[in-house]
Structure formats: structure tokens, C-alpha cells
Amino acid sequence: MKRAIITVTGIDHTGIVAGISSVLANFGVNILDITQTIMGDIFVMALLVDITKLEDITPLVEKLLEEGERLKVKVSFEREEIFRVMHRI
């Protein structure tokens, strides 16, 4: 299974979760886990998603970044392995 972590940070307001998850739904990407928290004034959300079925992830990443701009939040996309190599021995 190929998985990725999508991180969303920014000022909290309504519609962030809905906006991002609808982009994922449109690409047929399943959300495996989701966590969100408020750190200071900043909204932080991390989504673990299954991207096994996507042959090319470029359109998804582009659409996510576009949605981030619309929602005025910062969206990052990284394959899961990069976190694993950095944080697990």
C-alpha cells in the first residue's frame, strides 16, 4: 500500500476539513486516519491517505495546493516513508 500524509496548517475557520476531504473524495483517495489540533492560534490537521490506486499523483497535489490557497491554509503533501525514515529507527 502506498500512503501519504497531507498536512494542513493555518488560521482555524469553518470548511477546512470539508474542503480538503472533498478534493480527496473526488480523486477516489481514502482517508485512513485523521488527527487535528490547535497549537496556539494555529489549526493543524494531518491526514493519512491511501494513494495506491493513483498512477500519477501530480493532479492530486496540484488540486490540494489550489484548495489550500482558496481556504487560506498551507497544505503539504509527503509520501509516508519520509516521516518513517526521519522519526523511526
Binding site: A4, D33, T37, A46, S76, F77, V85
Partner: protein, 452 residues
């Protein structure tokens, strides 16, 4: 969630705020099998081979960059040293080869091509002299080709004749178009590794395989931020431990990205160079790390000691992270490319002599230093000789990449642009040192080279 929010945010912060990136992915390509009876046929064959070897290279890098979210700044190739590919007494043959290599880099879309290299540590042959004659011409007439001259190794000792030739090559390279930036593509080396991903000294070493991926990571900003997050009065061991932790993480990410690119290109061999490579970006500076640990300005007494601490802690962290560590793997002190280092020279705190002493404890040498263009060739030879001696004696790589500025006076700032940054022209001790180079010959290797 399999990772904590803090872990996820730490990675994101390192990339987005602290400038963690893959500074370079350099594809090493063996070209020894391209040698033919005629120069034209050799060039034709190596062009075909390089086009074939680089197929899919840039696309793969682009995809990996997008998927893993880590920027990959430079895409380069390093070839078998050009002086081994053709052997000629006609300088036009070398110029032809150089121009073809430069054109190929442009056609493929590479930032640089390294390996216009010759090995002079034992002797300067008649064809070497022709090769050396071509260097100032080709560096001024091409954009992407980098040249290097090996003048010393621990095994061979130091070839004074090679140093003399190198000094004239550097000065002629600077003179032709009076553009100091051209000399940024030229380096004089001692004990060079054959898997260095960084320019100008990258070449593909003999018997290092058909194709290899050499990755250079960059992370001074991540180290500086990590130290800044420690309490102001943290003891020295806490600083060492923190550097090791961050070094581990950046090495693991670099190795992973290198292996991912290699496996997609069907390449087995990966080498990770963990050198801390600064950029002119605010905060992405080796000087700022040292200043944060404990000196007012980089270059003050104590700087050599702290650079030793930094370099050693880095290595300990990275060796735990990867068994593929190679290349230079030191700490770079390139004057123009590091805002803090350039400022220290501007203030008169950091001198050429202190920069030389720093190379005793870290790679890689006197790097990206503007000097007055009217320097005596002999003084430049003396500077190179001292740097080579440090490398030979310590069995490590050292290098001289110095930028003579025609008409330039000490203290004047030189703009090099982009990642090459800007720096003041440094003062040079011009006390004569002529006789040693009039004697010529080779200083024998040190006792430490006789290990059997």
C-alpha cells in the same frame, strides 16, 4: 495516527522554514568504454552514452520531489575525468570535447557537468600541459562545465610543478573576461573522492560502477534552529547530542531520496554526502551555528574548536543513519555562499589564515574567496601549497577555489549572484615565497602514507 503531530510538524518545519533540501543529485557516469582511436569518434560515442544514461533522470527527480515534498535544488552529472578520455597534443581537441560536454548538459537540462579533471600529483606530462592550457579557455567559453586539478595526495606527496601550473591557470581563467565568477567552476584538489556530488570538484572515480547516484544534503538552517531551541545556557554535551539527532534525520531523508531516485532509474549504487552546505539565505549559515554556540563573530578565537565540535557531531549522527556515507562529508566554509562568513570577512574578524586553519578540522578548504586580481602568481602558489600540505598530512580532502578579482582591492564587495552569493575581497599576505617554486619537483609523501 502512526506519527505524532509533533513529528509531522517537525519534518514540515525543517523543509519549509529551515531550508532542508537535497542540495544536489549528481549522476556519476563511467565513460571509459567510450575511448576510440580518434577524438571525434570518442566524442560521438560519449555523447550517445551520456544521452542514454541521463534518460529519465530529470523526470524522475521531479516526480520524487513532488511525492516526498523535499526540494531538490541541483541536477548534475559527473563523468570519468576528461583527461583520461582523450590524450592529445592539440589544445583544440580538448576545447572540442569541453564544448560538446557543455552542450550536452544544456540539451539534457542539467545545471552542471563535472569531471574536466586531470591528475598531476606525480607529474605534469606533455599532454597534461595541453589540457591545462585548455582550462582557462573552456571555462570562459562554456557555462556548465566544471574543471578540477589534482596536485597532491597523501600517497604521492605534493607536486610543486603542478601547483605552479595551477596558479597560472587560475589567474588566466580570471583574466580572460575579468569575471571572477568563472573561477567558481575551477578547483585545485588534494585527495579528492570519486563520489563527490558537489561542484566544482565532482568527477566519476575509476571503477566506481557504470552509473551511481551521489546525493548532497543541505541543512545548516535545521542545525541552527535546533540549537536555538535549546536553552541559552545548555551545556556542551546537550549541543553535541542535538546536532547528532538532527544530523541523523537529515541524513536518513537524503539517503532515502537518493535510493528512491536510484531504484526508479535502475541504479544500485548510492552515496550520500552529508556536508553542511550553506546558502546565502538568512539563517542557512554555518557561521550562525558557530556564533550561536559560543563566539561573537565567526573567525574569533574558539571558532576552530567549535567547527571541530560541529563537524564531528554531524558525522556521528550521520554514520548511525546511513552506511552509504561518502563524498566529502565535511562542513563547507564557502565565504561568498554563507552570509555570516562573508560578513565576518567584511568585519576583518575572519582572515585567510584563519580560514586555512579551519580546514584542519573540516572539509574542504579555501572556498569561494575573492582575492585581489593583482596577486603574485607565487603568492597564490604558496596559498595552494599550504592547503595541499594540510590535506596530505591529515589524509583528507582539501581544496582551493579562489576567485581573483581583476582590479579589485581588499574590502570591496563582489557580487556573484544567486546561490554563489557575495563577499568582500580578502587581504592576502604577500611576503615573497618564490624560491620554493623555482626549485620545483615533488615533496615526498609523509610517513603516515606508509601503512603496510
Amino acid at each position: 495516527m502512526i506519527f505524532t503531530t509533533e513529528e509531522i510538524l517537525e519534518t514540515i518545519r525543517m523543509i519549509q522554514i529551515e531550508h532542508l533540501d537535497i542540495r544536489t543529485v549528481t549522476l556519476g557516469v563511467d565513460l571509459l568504454d567510450c575511448r576510440r582511436d580518434s577524438v571525434d569518434e570518442t566524442i560521438k560515442r560519449l555523447r550517445e552514452k551520456l544521452l542514454n544514461a541521463t534518460e529519465g533522470f530529470l523526470d524522475t527527480i521531479k516526480r520524487v520531489e513532488l511525492e516526498y515534498g523535499i526540494p531538490i535544488v541541483n541536477k548534475r552529472i559527473a563523468i570519468t575525468p576528461a583527461s583520461l578520455l582523450i590524450s592529445s597534443l592539440d589544445v583544440e581537441d580538448y576545447i572540442h570535447l569541453a564544448k560538446e560536454l557543455d552542450k550536452l548538459a544544456l540539451d539534457v537540462g542539467l545545471d552542471f557537468i563535472g569531471g574536466y579533471t586531470c591528475f598531476l600529483e606525480y607529474e605534469v606530462s606533455s599532454t597534461d600541459k595541453v589540457f591545462l592550457k585548455s582550462i582557462p579557455i573552456i571555462l570562459n567559453e562554456t557555462e556548465r562545465l566544471c574543471a578540477s586539478i589534482v596536485t597532491a595526495t597523501t600517497k604521492a606527496g605534493i607536486n610543486l610543478d603542478a601547483i605552479r601550473e595551477s596558479s597560472y591557470v587560475i589567474l588566466e581563467t580570471a583574466r580572460i573576461k575579468a569575471r571572477p565568477i568563472v573561477c567558481a567552476k575551477l578547483i585545485v584538489l588534494c585527495n579528492p573522492p570519486g563520489d563527490n556530488p558537489f561542484m566544482a570538484g565532482a568527477f566519476h572515480g575509476i571503477k566506481r560502477g557504470e552509473r551511481v547516484i551521489n546525493v548532497g544534503i543541505s541543512g545548516p538552517g535545521t542545525i541552527r534552529s535546533a540549537i536555538e531551541r535549546l536553552p541559552k545556557d545548555a551545556d556542551i554535551l546537550s549541543i553535541v547530542e542535538e546536532i547528532k539527532r538532527v544530523s541523523f534525520k537529515i541524513t536518513r531523508s537524503g539517503e532515502f531520496i537518493g535510493k528512491e531516485i536510484a531504484s526508479r532509474l535502475g541504479i544500485n549504487s548510492v552515496s550520500v554526502d552529508i556536508s553542511l552546505a550553506p546558502t546565502p539565505e538568512e539563517g542557512d549559515s554555518v557561521a550562525r551555528i558557530i556564533e550561536r554556540i559560543g563566539v561573537e563573530t565567526f573567525g574569533a578565537p574558539g571558532t576552530t574548536g567549535l567547527l571541530f565540535l560541529l563537524n564531528d557531531a554531524l558525522k556521528k549522527g550521520c554514520l548511525m543513519a546511513s552506511s552509504s556515507v561518502g563524498g566529502l562529508s565535511g562542513t563547507f566554509v564557502p565565504v561568498s555562499e554563507d552570509k555570516g562568513i562573508a560578513e565576518a570577512v567584511g568585519k576583518g574578524v575572519l582572515t585567510l589564515e584563519k580560514l586555512e586553519s579551519l580546514t584542519n578540522v573540516c572539509s574542504v578548504g579555501l572556498d569561494m574567496i575573492p582575492i585581489p586580481g593583482d596577486i603574485s602568481p607565487y603568492t597564490l602558489m604558496g596559498i595552494i601549497l599550504d592547503e595541499m600540505a594540510i590535506g596530505v598530512m591529515h589524509n583528507k580532502t582539501t581544496a582551493v577555489r579562489i576567485l581573483p578579482v581583476p582590479g579589485g582591492k581588499p574590502g570591496e564587495w563582489v557580487e556573484l549572484g544567486g546561490l554563489l552569493g557575495r563577499a568582500p575581497i580578502i587581504s592576502v599576505n604577500s611576503t615573497p615565497c618564490i624560491d620554493i617554486f623555482k626549485r620545483g619537483g615533488r615533496i615526498p609523501p609523509p610517513l603516515t602514507s606508509y601503512r603496510n
